[in-house]
């Protein structure tokens, strides 16, 4: 299946939970936030929300910045 992750296409073998995707990407779930089809997910739901074919996922973290 194919999803869009941070604007780029990503091929995955099949549906995955958000937690599993973060593990696969080697990302620390405590330091990121995830938007799934335009809805920001609560961390408590990472184990249950499943990402399916065609979904849009954004994963963000904090970076240095002051303004603009």
């Amino acid at each position: 299946m194919k999803i869009t992750l941070n604007g780029d296409p990503l091929e995955l073998p099949g549906p995955v939970t958000v937690s599993a995707l973060l593990v696969q990407l080697e990302l620390d779930s405590r330091r990121v936030a995830v938007e799934h089809n335009l809805t920001v997910l609560k961390r408590a739901t990472y184990d249950t929300v499943e990402i399916r074919d065609g979904d849009q996922v954004e994963i963000v973290n904090f970076v240095g910045g002051g303004s603009a």
Binding site: L5, N6, G7, D8, L25, E26, L27, D28, R31, V32, A33, V34, E35, L38, V40, L41, K42, R43, E58, I59, V60, N61, F62, V63, G64, G65, G66, S67, A68
Partner: protein
């Protein structure tokens, strides 16, 4: 003690600093320390992902390796957003990443000046206040807009002193003064500070705090400038509280006129 109080949270420092543009994260950490700031702004951006087939090297350093969240209050910003929708989405993501409902709200309206889009800023403020956010909007130095933001539920107003990163200092002193009169929520001068005297002036005008990034990060010695800013904010605040003398056109003596030798 003279604390800064925003939305029921108190800070002993009235200086808020950014986390961008430093030559290295270690310099940033030392500058933060020297600034005495307790609140730091951070930007929300897509994580860097390894390209397909590219070997994953050492874990990339995270900004949070250099900012202790137990010591610094993280203020996520919506820097780089050009629409109310983008800013609202970014604020929601920032809340989830940082687990606090505070946001420095920016909706930029023009690329060259980075001036805010007032209309979109007000829209986004209303939406986020409804969702329970503590909204600190970066705004023009326009008293009417600041009053509207306060009416919309903003927890503070953060007018610019000059364009972001310009280092020009406070360009419209009288507007900042009028904003002080127009609003009851904390007034934070955000952007435009170039050197310590600019920060002191903001505080002398009655600002409750100053937010800056480039003035410290871009200085030749960011750690020394951070300390200068700490002292300037403190000095300006004390001068404001002390109440300055009125300006006069002519001199007034400060020594007694009686008892002069030879008269």
């Amino acid at each position: 003690m003279d604390h800064l109080n925003i939305a029921g949270k108190t800070f002993s420092s009235r200086l808020i600093v950014g986390t961008g543009k430093y030559s290295s994260p270690a310099v940033m950490a030392r500058a933060h320390e020297a600034s005495g700031a307790e609140m730091v702004t951070v930007a929300v951006r897509r994580v860097k992902l390894p390209r397909p087939g590219e070997p994953r090297g050492e874990r990339e350093e995270s900004l949070l390796d250099y900012i202790d969240p137990a010591r610094y209050f993280l203020l996520p910003n919506t820097a780089g957003c050009y629409t109310a929708d983008e800013a609202v989405r970014t604020a929601r993501l920032g809340r989830e990443a940082g687990l606090s409902n505070w946001v420095k709200l920016e909706v930029i309206g023009d690329e060259r000046t980075l001036f805010p889009d007032n209309e979109a800023l007000l829209d986004a403020t209303r939406t986020l206040v409804k969702e329970g956010f503590v909204v600190l909007p970066y705004t023009n130095d326009d008293p009417v807009v600041c009053r509207k933001l306060e009416d919309a539920g903003a927890a503070a107003v953060m007018p610019l002193g000059a364009p972001i990163g310009s280092g020009l200092g406070i360009q419209n002193v009288n507007n900042i003064r009028i904003i002080r009169e127009f609003t009851k929520v904390p007034l934070i001068v955000d952007a435009g500070v170039g050197t310590a005297s600019d920060a002191a002036l903001a505080m002398e005008l009655g600002a409750d705090g100053v937010l800056m990034n480039t003035a410290i990060a871009g200085a030749q010695d960011p750690v020394a400038m951070a300390e200068a800013m700490k002292l300037a904010v403190r000095a300006g605040r004390l001068a404001h509280l002390a109440g300055r003398i009125p300006r006069r056109l002519y001199a007034t003596t400060s020594s007694p006129l009686e008892g002069l030798v030879g008269r």
